[in-house]
Symmetry: C2
Subunit: 146 residues, 2 copies
DNA sequence: TCTTGACCTGAAGTCAGGTTTAGGTTATAC
DNA sequence: GTATAACCTAAACCTGACTTCAGGTCAAGA
């Protein structure tokens, strides 16, 4: 059992944020002794999941929904699995999107490298988009496919 | 040359958002004729970069900084290259982080698949973290490395 | 016992990134 | 030439995710 201050240190999350999460219903079964929150392993695991889901851009109210399903017990196993399957697709798509963003950034790095060499963008602007050298053409194409 | 409405359709961005971007200084040299905004190829390319940088989580005010460098001309080529090199590192880190999140999600999918089969989490809780089967152990380890 | 630090609450404040509203101007089609 | 659709501004409003504040309680050590 941990106090809010200990959990705050463990996860490097402000105490105010933990209280906010509690207020928003992210710890459905959180115990208290004479008013003071007592975090068990259950809440620690919940917090790991919260951190994970927040990284995927999920909103607090949707994380709350998941925590409520956890509190409901074994009747929600399939709902919870489907929840993660949906999230999986979203994160996979996010990674694909980021890879394309990375191609765009790589292209821009190359672009400014050339501009530095040339002292201007004239030659570059004549190359784009059809006369790019092989070394960068693939990156450009991936970055600009919609 | 395009009107704000045409650009809105091209990019599927509300007109109000384009005006907001303009107010925040994201189109430094944007022309007007009798008060009406005239978007040129320059602003279209700017908007492509804005969309890209927004996907990396960059704030409007930092995107504005970049656009100002663009408006300054050839003296800022190296600054702009370095800007993209920094962003590249951040996005690469983001992708690595997302891959670990994906491992966590894969683990959770497996976990609930087992729980559905078993009808409870008892067997699972005895397995975690040291007696996991090989098929999932790697995923678990990657998901939990800090 | 008293003080000090960690805890508690509800309400207000903050910040980013827009969106909505109200009131007005301009361009285009009939 | 007049309707109406698309444009304009400033300012207020909204949402999510916190943070800060004011005022109060609780537990442990000197």
């Amino acid at each position: 059992m941990y106090t809010i201050g200990q959990v705050s240190e463990m996860f490097n999350i402000p105490v105010s944020t933990l209280r906010y999460y509690d207020k928003e219903g992210l710890f459905p079964g959180l115990e208290r002794s004479s008013g003071i929150r007592r975090f068990s392993e259950k809440e620690i695991e919940a917090l790991r999941i919260i951190e994970c889901l927040k990284k995927t851009g999920m909103e607090i109210k949707d994380i709350k929904q998941f925590m409520e399903w956890c509190a409901e017990g074994s009747s929600t196993y399939t709902v919870r699995r489907d929840f993660f399957l949906r999230r999986k697709k979203i994160v996979e798509e996010e990674i694909r999107k980021m890879s394309r963003v990375l191609d765009m950034i790589d292209f821009k790095c190359w672009y400014y490298e050339q501009a530095i060499k040339d002292g201007n963008e004239d030659r570059l602007n004549q190359m784009i988009p059809d006369n790019l050298p092989d070394e960068i053409k693939d990156v450009y194409d991936r970055a600009h496919e919609d």
